[in-house]
């Protein structure tokens, strides 16, 4: 697995770190500020596209991802690449957004020191949010919500149906109040409703039609009565007019001979002739009458004849008016007869229906058989009897109105009852849906809770086992994660502690115990979800664990790492580094990486191992020029070797190593010299290719020589330069350097590696196929 960073947080130029995934675990040691969290952030950035540790920090509103960019570089320069199991993912920034290319089959889970106890200290609701991915079955959550929504919606629907029923009942009560005959029904609304609905809709419609027809015919009779009434005097007047005009014409004709009519034509022609000429002679009798007299006479004759003609025309007109009046009257009579016939018909139908007590029609109506029977005398008789039709008209109108009300009432009652029935039927269906929906929801809910609690019980059992592996005999097995029995999305975390029930571990356990608890819970949870595809990064998460529990925790992590694709533990804790580095803790399936000090110029770096420092020391001794560097490199190599020796023999070192949290050469010196039995027995055997001991080196003289020269390192190789004037710097530095190399050559193999293995069970020997160094004793002599 390889992680490459560029322009990312403290990394300016490219920094590449490889993790040996053949090992289960990588211990990434680095002092504060060396870039451990930068590496975990880079993992989260490239895998999840998040800002890692910056996600939960306040950045005063600045975009989090933008803050990942190295201070000297631009957003576009940032690039993080991760290679895992032949898959590659590259993440860059485009503006303030992450651009990820490539696919990965693995996920990253980071647990930081800051977050280690969060799961424990969270409120139950927030704790549930953090663990819900492990315990939730989203499809059940969704369907439970869906059923809940359905039930709520149907409950609202049921309320609406109930309101509809109430409203319909109010309408019925109001109709009953307004229309029911109290004398007949009293307070019995249902009996009234039955009565209203007793009559069929068809019967009411038929009766309504009969009355409507009867009413209509009476109205038509009334409407046509006046025109017919007026037609009789009109005829009489027209007859009189004809008689009068004929008499006048007869008189005129008697006064003038019939031939005047013919003369009229002749005179007209004469008139024309006279007007056209100046002759004084009559064109008919040739009498000299004078032209003007002749004209005058002709005009008089024509005037007389015109009066006859006009009277004749008036007579003709009078006759035509009479004829017209007769025709009109005939039309009226026919129409009136039609009305009478229809009236008789519908009246008979009404009488036959036996629904009403209707007065009979008047005799004048009953006797008429054809239109011509409607004479003036008949009409006079009808006029006399007309008042007798009024009761019929009133009854019909009254019954018609009553029936109209009844019909409307029946429709209203029927509609209200139908509404009640429909709403009641719908209500039954809705109640079923609500009841069944709630029952199904409970099945889903119970299964969701059962599954979650079963999962949580398994997790609880697992983390309790993990915790017990570190804190033997503390019996926190009763501490459990479980869902609150009634509150939704609430994860409780408590149990019996020191005899107190439902005790919160937060209140009873120390901070380091809570850290361990949090770590175990985290491991137990992450083991649930495809751990083989998970890379765990414990970022300085075990800093608070004391030394007494360190080895057990380490062993636990090593065991648990086998479940995951790879586990990385970053730490600034010196004892951990010490124990890993020098084999006090097993190195089986473990890779140890150390970060060097970070600087703005250099960025992140991996610290070089002791063998490379030895190579540097040889180089500087050979050059014999730089006393300070020789002293400084000697100091570094000695620190590593003495650190190793004091480590494997468990020498007593100060509890508090000082402000820098690291032991000095004097501390190591004191540690070794304090073990008198050890110093005298320390020896290293050199083994040849045939496996024989070629040389035995006692270490005590070499160490004593070195111890006597340590002040040189302090005087030349570090900052106490004021002492340097008292030394022959280069000679003293070379002496220290050579003493150091003598110790190296006595202990280290050809590759300058220390004998940090003890597989043969009797010595510390070097790694590799052939053993060339054996350091004795295996254990510190008592």
């Amino acid at each position: 697995m390889k992680l490459s960073l560029e322009a990312f947080r403290g990394v300016d130029k490219t920094f590449e770190i490889r993790f040996d995934t053949k090992q289960n675990l990588t211990v990434l040691y680095g002092e504060n500020g060396s870039g451990k969290t930068t590496i975990s952030d880079a993992f989260e950035f490239v895998v999840d596209g998040t800002a890692g540790s910056l996600e939960e920090k306040s950045l005063d509103g600045k975009p989090r991802l933008g803050q990942l960019v190295n201070a000297r570089r631009k957003n576009a320069d940032l690039k993080v690449s991760l290679d895992v199991a032949n898959k590659n993912r590259v993440a860059t920034l485009s503006g303030a957004k992450v651009q990820q290319t490539g696919t990965l089959d693995h996920r990253i889970k980071v647990l930081s020191r800051k977050n280690i106890t969060k799961l424990i200290e969270e409120t139950p609701a927030n704790r549930f949010k953090r663990i819900q991915d492990f315990v939730s079955i989203p499809v059940l959550d969704r369907e439970e919500t869906s059923l809940n929504d359905l039930v709520l919606s149907e409950k609202r629907n049921l309320e609406s149906q109930s309101k509809l029923i109430t409203q319909a009942r109010e309408v019925l009560a109001s109709l009953f109040e307004e229309h029911a005959e109290k004398a007949k029904f009293g307070g019995q609304q249902e009996a009234w409703q039955k009565d209203i609905l007793g009559e069929s809709e068809e019967t009411i419609a038929e009766n309504f039609r009969i009355l409507q027809d009867l009413n209509q015919e009476i109205k038509r009779l009334r409407d046509d009565f006046k025109p017919l009434a007026e037609s009789y005097p009109s005829i009489t007047a027209a007859v009189e007019a004809v008689r009068k005009e004929e008499a006048a014409l007869a008189k005129l004709i008697a006064d003038h001979s019939d031939d005047l009519a013919e003369a009229f034509d002749t005179l007209q022609q004469a008139q024309v002739f006279l007007k056209s000429g100046e002759s004084d002679t009559c064109p008919v009798c040739d009498t000299e009458v004078g032209h003007s007299t002749l004209v005058q006479k002709v005009d008089q004759k024509l005037e007389t004849l015109k009066a006859v003609k006009d009277q004749s025309l008036r007579t003709k007109n009078a006759k035509e008016a009479l004829q017209s009046a007769r025709t009109s009257q005939q039309t009226l009579q026919e129409s009136f007869f039609s009305i009478i016939s229809r009236l008789k018909q519908v009246h008979q139908a009404a009488v036959d229906s036996d629904q009403w007590k209707l007065p009979a029609l008047v005799p004048s109506i009953l006797v008429v058989e054809k239109a011509v029977d409607l004479s003036e005398d008949w009409f006079t008789q009808l006029k006399v009897e007309a008042s007798q039709l009024k009761p019929l008209s009133e009854i019909v109108e009254k019954e018609h109105a009553a029936l109209q009300i009844r019909r409307s009432l029946q429709a209203d009652v029927r509609q209200a009852l139908q509404r009640i029935k429909t709403a009641t039927d719908d209500g039954k269906r809705i109640e079923f849906i609500i009841k069944r929906g709630e029952a199904i929801k409970k099945v889903l809910h119970d299964e969701r809770i059962r599954h979650a609690n079963e999962t949580l019980t398994a997790i609880s059992g697992n983390f309790a086992k993990l915790y017990a592996a570190i804190h033997e005999g503390e019996k926190i097995e009763t501490i459990q994660l479980y869902l609150h029995p009634t509150k939704k999305s609430s994860a409780q975390f408590d149990g019996t502690l020191f005899g107190k029930k439902e005790a919160s571990p937060v209140a009873y356990l120390s901070e380091s115990h809570l850290d361990t608890l949090g770590l175990c819970l985290f491991l137990a949870l992450e083991k649930r979800e495809n751990p083989g595809k998970t890379i765990l990064f414990l970022d300085d998460a075990i800093a608070s664990v004391d030394e007494a529990h360190m080895e057990r925790l380490y062993k636990l992590l090593l065991d648990e790492a086998a479940h995951f694709h790879h586990v990385i533990i970053s730490s600034h804790y010196q004892p951990l580094r010490f124990k890993f580095r020098w084999g006090i803790l097993t190195q089986s399936k473990v890779e140890f990486l150390e970060l060097g000090q970070w600087s703005l110029e250099r960025g992140l770096s991996l610290a070089k191992g002791p063998n490379s420092e030895i190579a540097f020391l040889r180089h500087y001794i050979e050059a014999a020029e730089d006393a300070a560097t020789i002293a400084a490199k000697s100091g570094l190599v000695l620190e590593r070797i003495l650190d190793f020796l004091t480590g494997i023999y468990q020498c007593r070192l100060p509890r508090n190593p000082g402000a820098e949290q690291r032991w000095t050469l004097d501390h190591y010196k004191g540690g070794l010299k304090g073990e008198k039995n050890l110093m005298t027995t320390l020896r290293c055997e050199h083994i040849d290719d045939a496996g024989n001991v070629s040389k035995v080196v006692d270490l005590a003289p070499l160490l004593e020589d070195i111890f006597s020269r340590l002040q040189v390192r302090n005087a030349i190789g570090c900052h106490f330069k004021e002492l340097a004037g008292h030394f022959d710097e280069i000679a003293e530095a070379l002496a220290l350097g050579k003493s150091t190399l003598a110790l190296v050559e006595a202990i280290c193999d050809e590759k300058d590696t220390l004998p940090d293995h003890r597989k043969d069970g009797c010595s510390w020997h070097n790694r590799g196929k052939s053993v060339t160094r054996r350091l004795f004793p295996l254990l510190k002599p008592e």
Binding site: I137, V139, R429, F432, I433, R436, V443, E447
Partner: protein, 61 residues
């Protein structure tokens, strides 16, 4: 997390043993849950209502 097999079985048993849904309807619901399809509960329960109102359940074997 998809619906675990054990949960699917327990849900089916719960729905059928409590006579909440007919066998066929319960099977269809579980199938939808397994395939993570949305269940139309209104339709499922309304059909169950009609079936129970009708007095006979055609879905029952």
């Amino acid at each position: 997390m998809t619906l675990p097999k054990e949960s699917a079985e327990k849900l089916r048993d719960g729905l059928i043993s409590q006579s909440l849904l007919a066998n066929k309807a319960a099977e269809e619901v579980i199938k939808s849950l397994v395939m993570e399809k949305q269940v139309n509960w209104n339709l499922v329960i309304s059909k169950q209502f009609e079936s129970e109102q009708g007095g006979s359940d055609e879905a029952q074997p």
